[in-house]
């Protein structure tokens, strides 16, 4: 049976970009304002889930050919390693540090180790959420 989902498909193409932009915005507004890796990762995952609902699993696996278990593992690894980074510098575990550097054309920006930590969290969240959804959908 062929489902007439023209509206869903057209809207998805547009909406996914909005969701992804919001995800990135939330991610970077991170540790100082509402937002951060966890919520950014969840929003990112919701964009992927929307793609998954609109198109079938085969198309999805063809276009995003990641093993999301590995994504989650990479994320957790980044989280742990940024925590361990402080240990190497003789600071307590999970201590953060930041520096303000001048990026050409963008200007002064604050670069912080928390951002890497948040990146790990985001990847872990995306990996776990998509793994759960894929396992459930394969089961049914």
């Amino acid at each position: 049976m062929k489902i007439n989902d023209l509206i869903l498909r057209s809207v998805t193409k547009l909406i996914v970009f909005i969701i992804l932009t919001l995800a990135i915005y939330l991610f970077f507004s991170g540790h100082n304002a509402p937002g951060g890796g966890f919520i950014g990762g969840l929003v990112l995952a919701s964009a992927i889930v929307l793609l998954l609902l609109t198109y079938d699993i085969e198309t999805f696996k063809y276009s995003i050919p990641f093993d999301f278990k590995i994504v989650a593992a990479i994320g957790s690894l980044i989280v742990l390693l940024t925590g361990m980074g402080a240990v190497l510098f003789g600071k307590p575990f999970l201590t953060q540090s930041f520096a303000t550097i001048n990026i050409p054309f963008i200007g002064l920006r604050e670069i912080s180790t928390v951002t890497f930590f948040e990146l790990g969290v985001a990847l872990a969240v995306v990996g776990v959420v998509i793994t759960i959804i894929l396992s459930i959908s394969e089961d049914v």
Binding site: L80, M84, P92, Q96
Partner: protein, 496 residues
């Protein structure tokens, strides 16, 4: 100085890191085995270093991310926690040797070793954390890993029991969260040392006592104190190596939490809280004894013996004198070792006879004499026969009971030894004595390597029994900190 403090987090971070790395290549079994063993041994080495450091430097704390104690999360390594971390990593590396032989290829490729690492990370984290909410988180890490381990490669009976296990733990965890919320609402802190200090200042009001009872309910569910009905089912379905990890470690985390909370935070109203613990311990021992005698299935007998031990160790907490707490710690360490041993031996027996019913086996001593003697030594050790490790703990707990004239506790705890002896000797006689049922041709060869982990554990129970002086300074220090909460508080809130 700071580098040294970071050691405190390593018993949790090493297994966590290795567990994550193992998730990348589930099919390289030999690498997985090697890395897991290395991670557990590294954890063991770190905990030895920590334990020695504590004797010279006092309690070591680590404030995560340099946030000071009552505000940030803090990890606290005192002798009690570190002794348990040490025993945990030692036992898990021995049990993992047994798992190499018995767990099977399917489970090994299903992330078995990664989950074991996460489990150990959760257990060690629960021992070391100095913050109640963080305790909840590490509990969850441990429980999630245990959910995965109990259902891994699930057979029907395994799934049935794991539903019970997951359900009871989810309920317990939500009560845990509620208790934490109540406590935070009442005294405005979740740092254990800070909470203890504040409760000492305002007095343990009836409201706080009620909150302490909610904590008691939660940890009783987790440790199997009185609310142990889920335990025999869930601990008897997974394979022997996993059951040994559960039996040796998981209930002990609940016991640790009870010891910590009722000596550090809620110790002002012992006539209420500790009396309730005493009653619960007595009922646990009685219930466990009935179970241990009633069943003819070796797995059930063993899991009910876990329940009896939980009752015994918490009876020591209920008596609440320096002597009984020292005895309780000795017995806790002994029980972790011997329960691991018992589960491994029972697993070996079941593997060799392909049944867990005592009635269906007989005369194994002719086929496997070493296994028989090992089992016999284990039974003696569990009962508390002098040269073995159970003796000292029982004597000290008994002495504590006499000091406080808790004659009922004394009677019940010592009668429980008889029940342990009777229930396990019956298993021993049923399985090892009599006419052999396995002919020479059918006999499954028992590789020496399979018996090696049990042999190491037997050595440990002898060492702990013959040379308790080797750990005596640590145990004395541990019970000293438990009986004098101010030492712990001063170590954590050093700036006050």
């Amino acid at each position: 100085m700071l580098i040294m403090n970071n050691l405190v987090v390593f018993p949790m971070i090493i297994p966590l890191l290795v567990g994550v790395i193992l998730a990348f290549f589930p099919n390289h079994i030999y690498t997985q085995r090697l890395l897991t063993l290395l991670s557990l041994i590294a954890t063991f080495v770190v905990s030895i270093l920590l334990l020695n450091l504590i004797q010279t430097e006092g309690i070591i704390t680590l404030e995560f991310g340099d946030w000071q104690a009552p505000f940030g999360i803090v990890f606290v390594a005192d002798s009690f926690a570190t002794l348990l971390v040490l025993t945990t990593s030692l036992l898990s590396s021995i049990i993992i040797l047994f798992a190499f032989q018995t767990i099977g290829k399917t489970r090994e490729t299903l992330y078995f070793y990664a989950f074991v690492n996460f489990l150990i990370a959760g257990v060690n984290g629960s021992f070391l954390t100095g913050d109640l909410f963080n305790l909840f988180v590490t509990f969850e890490v441990m429980l999630l890993a245990s959910y995965a381990l109990i259902t891994l490669n699930g057979k029907k009976v395994q799934l049935r029991e794991s539903i019970k296990y997951v359900a009871i733990n989810v309920v317990a965890s939500s009560f845990f969260l509620i208790a934490i919320a109540y406590l935070y609402g009442t005294i405005g802190t979740l740092n254990m040392a800070h909470a203890s200090e504040r409760i000492a200042e305002v007095g343990q009001t009836p409201l706080l006592t009620v909150i302490s009872l909610v904590f008691l309910l939660v940890f009783s569910l987790k440790s199997g104190l009185l609310l142990y009905q889920w335990l025999p089912g869930s601990y008897s379905v997974p394979p022997a190596a996993i059951a040994a990890l559960f039996g040796a470690l998981l209930t002990k985390v609940g016991i640790y939490a009870l010891y910590r909370v009722f000596t550090l935070i809620f110790y002002h109203e012992p006539q209420i809280t500790h009396t309730i613990i005493a009653v619960m311990a007595i009922l646990t021992i009685i219930g466990g004894s009935i179970g241990a005698i009633a069943f003819r299935d070796i797995k059930q007998v063993i899991t009910y013996n876990v329940v009896i031990a939980v009752g015994f160790i918490l009876a020591a907490l209920a008596i609440f004198t320096a002597t009984s707490i020292t005895g309780g710690i000795y017995y806790l360490l002994h029980d972790m070792i011997v329960k691991a041993l018992l589960f491994l031996l029972a697993g070996t027996i079941i593997y060799l006879t392909k049944t867990s019913r005592v009635d269906a086996m007989s005369g194994l001593i002719r086929n496997y004499p070493t296994l028989g003697w090992f089992f016999f030594i284990t039974v003696l050790s569990l009962t508390g026969i002098p040269p073995l490790s159970g003796f000292l703990g029982k004597v000290l707990v008994g002495q504590g009971a006499l000091e406080t004239s808790s004659y009922i506790l004394l009677l019940v705890t010592f009668l429980s030894s008889m029940v342990v002896l009777y229930s396990l000797l019956r298993v021993f006689m049923g399985t090892f004595w009599g006419e052999t049922i396995i002919s020479e041709e059918e006999q499954i060869p028992l590789k020496p390597l399979t018996l090696l982990p049990s042999a190491i554990l037997i050595c440990l129970t002898f060492i702990l029994g013959l040379a308790p002086e080797s750990i005596a300074p640590f145990v004395t220090d541990a019970s000293n900190v438990l009986m004098n909460p101010q030492i712990y508080i001063d170590a954590v809130l050093e700036n006050d």
